[in-house]
């Protein structure tokens, strides 16, 4: 046991030091109370781009980052301005947002909820990011959306296709431009029924997380409504890289359609496995065996190579669209990087522009003001035709593309052809639709 000697001098000394220490904060306190988290004070405003740089969705993440960099360049008046010139709102003039130059920080989500939240937190707490955007997985998007709600910053979701993002996990501070599983089902099912008939038996392989679950539910519901039968649904781990053991049972199940509710690297691997097993040459129940990939992207088509030929799916946007907005975006993206953008890049670019535009219109970076500016906002010229940001669930409503793997691609980028542009009315649903019920937006949180 050590002895603690207390002397008069010691007590006075310690007391004085402690007192000074305690008094210091009140003396120096200069905390600015502008009413919301990370209010930009200088001549710049910082956005946080949180994308997967490693893991199964790394390709999408890299493309998202390119789009963000392009968007920042355009907002600051660089480049050719991209979609700023075709956007129906004209308040953005290339001088940043509200006269502040746009800067950005990046983070790696690793496609893991924990890592994504840590990197978003560090962007908010350390770098003073006023808005977080990105993500290429719905699990991550939902986790980060929850964090942004708590921290009091706006979350502009990147590529997230789960119904839950604007369904049971919707948050007042979160906004999604991308379409969702329900819309894919509603757009894709009629085309599938037309091509393959109304009496098909479907076997689903589904990525085992929120996106897979809700997409499978949506596709199954939409196809069953047209007479299809769902034979089986098998959940596969997101981290899986070999799907042979999941493909083999399909052959003996009596199913004649395989629906791959996979995305990114998962889809590339599962489709390749399925083709290697000769599924596409099989004839079951007197019909040709078919494979469907409900959520398609060009990056995936590129990864899967010739295997995607003739396979149907849906997509949010494709670079071959011929409207002015799409053409302007493809042109400036192509000039900068030498190849056309993916749908992930498109949605991220658009989200950044929409955020900047909302801040400009609201005249403030306050998340509540921005939320108000985005809710119920109708816009056009961003590549998807007339679009509505619905106030009830912060989901964008726009046309959905049904695409098919091209049989005779003319270049390494020309892999998908648009089969049908499904009009917005056909994919709309009520905010309290059973697949989306159970959550509530809550109220907007401006933070500090």
């Amino acid at each position: 046991m050590s002895k603690l000697n207390v002397t008069r001098r010691g007590v006075i000394k310690t007391g004085a030091v402690a007192g000074a220490g305690l008094a210091l904060p009140t003396y120096l306190s200069a905390a600015s109370h502008s009413g919301y988290t990370n209010a930009p004070t200088g001549s710049t405003v910082t956005l946080g781009f949180n994308v997967p740089q490693t893991g199964p969705y790394a390709d999408e993440g890299a493309d998202e980052l390119r789009a963000y960099e392009l968007a920042v360049e355009h907002l600051n008046g660089g480049g050719d301005g991209g979609m700023l010139s075709t956007f129906s709102s004209k308040v953005l003039d290339g001088t940043g947002i509200l006269g502040k130059k746009v800067e950005y920080v990046t983070g790696d989500t690793q496609t893991k909820s924990d890592a994504a939240r840590a990197s978003a937190k560090s962007m908010i707490e350390k770098d003073g990011a006023i808005m977080i955007t990105g993500g290429s997985s719905s699990g991550v998007a939902i986790a980060v959306q929850g964090l942004c709600q708590e921290a009091g910053v706006i979350f502009m979701a990147g590529l997230t296709h789960s119904n839950d993002t604007t369904g049971k996990d919707k948050k007042a501070n979160g906004f999604r431009h991308f379409f969702n599983g329900y819309m894919s089902g509603a757009a894709l099912a009629p085309v599938l029924a037309k091509m393959y008939g109304n009496d098909r038996k479907a076997y689903h392989l589904t990525a085992d997380y929120t996106w897979g679950w809700t997409q499978q539910e949506s596709i199954a519901a939409a196809t069953e409504a047209l007479g299809w039968e769902t034979v089986n649904n098998v959940l596969t781990p997101l981290a899986a890289t070999d799907f042979s053991s999941y493909i083999a049972p399909v052959l003996n199940s009596g199913a004649d359609v395989l629906v791959l509710n996979h995305y990114g690297g998962n889809m590339v691997n599962s489709l390749t496995n399925a083709v290697q097993f000769g599924l596409r040459e099989k004839v079951v129940n007197g019909k040709d065996f078919e494979i469907v990939v409900p959520l398609y992207s060009r990056l995936m088509a590129k990864g899967a190579g010739a295997n995607v030929k003739g396979i149907f799916g849906s997509t949010n946007w494709h670079w071959s669209l011929q409207d002015e907005g799409s053409k302007a975006f493809v042109k400036s993206f192509g000039t900068k990087y030498g190849f056309p953008p993916s749908q992930a890049a498109h949605t991220c670019y658009v989200q950044t522009l929409l955020y900047a535009d909302a801040a400009q219109r609201a005249g403030s970076f306050n998340p509540c003001a921005i939320g108000e500016a985005l809710e119920g906002y109708e816009f056009d010229g961003l590549g998807n035709g007339p679009t509505l940001y619905r106030a009830e669930d912060h989901q964008c409503f726009k046309d959905v593309l049904v695409v098919k793997g091209k049989d005779n691609p003319t270049s390494e980028f020309d892999l998908l052809e648009i089969v049908e542009v499904t009009p917005r009315a056909q994919v709309e649903y009520a905010p309290d639709h059973p697949m989306f019920a159970g959550g509530s937006l809550g109220s907007c949180n401006p933070g500090a």
Partner: protein, 399 residues
Amino acid sequence: MFGLDKKDSTLLLIVALLTMLAPFIFNPFPTDSGLAQFNAGYPDLMQRFVIFGIFAIGFNILFGLTGYLSFGHAAFLGVGSYSAVWMFKLLSMNIVPAILLSVVIAGLFALVIGFVSLRRTGIYFSILTLAFAQMSFALAYSVLTPLTNGETGLQLTLDDPRILGSSATADGSIPVTNLFGLEMRSAYDLVIGPWSFTFSAGYYVCAIVMLLSFYLAIRIFRSPFGMMLRAIKSNQQRLNYTGLNPKPYTLAAFVISGMYAGLAGGLMAAMDPLAGAERMQWTASGEVVLMTILGGAGTLIGPVLGAGAIKYMENIFSKINDNVLHGWFAFLPDGIEDAIVFIIHPFVGKGWHLTLGIIFMLVVTFLPGGLVEGGQRIARLFNRKKADDPKSASTEPAE
């Protein structure tokens, strides 16, 4: 002081000072300077430092003292997090019941896994714990989805019951975690000239818990029980021959260290109410082994240093992207600038694992006792007299 000898009191005092002054220590650079990139004094990272410090201290009680290398410790951390989040969902947002439950559940879990795994020693023990941890991960990831929400992670929602609290605040948002009303999220910014220091309530709660667990670890290290554990490490056979049954001791050490992990998991959930399955993955278990060895296994302060070093790398180095690099070297001519950025690029940003691997390799090769040994060697350079003390509190390396 507190029943510790002078050396340990000094150590405890140093750790206390370090943790209490952390907001200053980790923010040495002015906010607007280019070096601000290396500041680590923001609440989230400081919380991680001390939480993983607790995790590593607990792991060290098992590995450093008994020599049993558990490769599945992340399972206890994950179980702790899930228990805490469920407490927030069902009971209240106060962190005390949540942390208590996470410690208890992790302890029970450790008792079961330990009882089975400790039937074997050496590599077989490591593999058994690894297998259990991977099983827990698989359960959390898919099988027990209703309980854990699978890949998405368990989160709070507005319609959770929270019987002792409120489901939602008056303005319709999810209430935040608190300690009898003190919100974990609340923070105070102190601005002195160009510097800005953040004092976060959550961090100080974690830091105090860490000090308590550090103190407890010192007492365990110095107790007859700790001596027994060391005896198991140095020669278990001899211990058997003297008629002592080592199993109750190893099991106790295993459970204690599992409870430490549960405490860390509970605190993690208290700071950020989300529990994801990847917290239980084997990489997370491997990380705590790295932390302990990097810092110095078997030493008191080593694991805390190791945890800090790894979390610093993960959060600071991983954020240096090409843009930042170009900013640093902008003063150089274009060609040279690009060349330098090209050389550094693989080691920062997403390549931070590479840097960590190199550092780990160097430490293990040249400083087998970890960072603690490095510190001691430097101290010896400047102070011959003290270093000659053969009974120095924290000099014994792992093996």
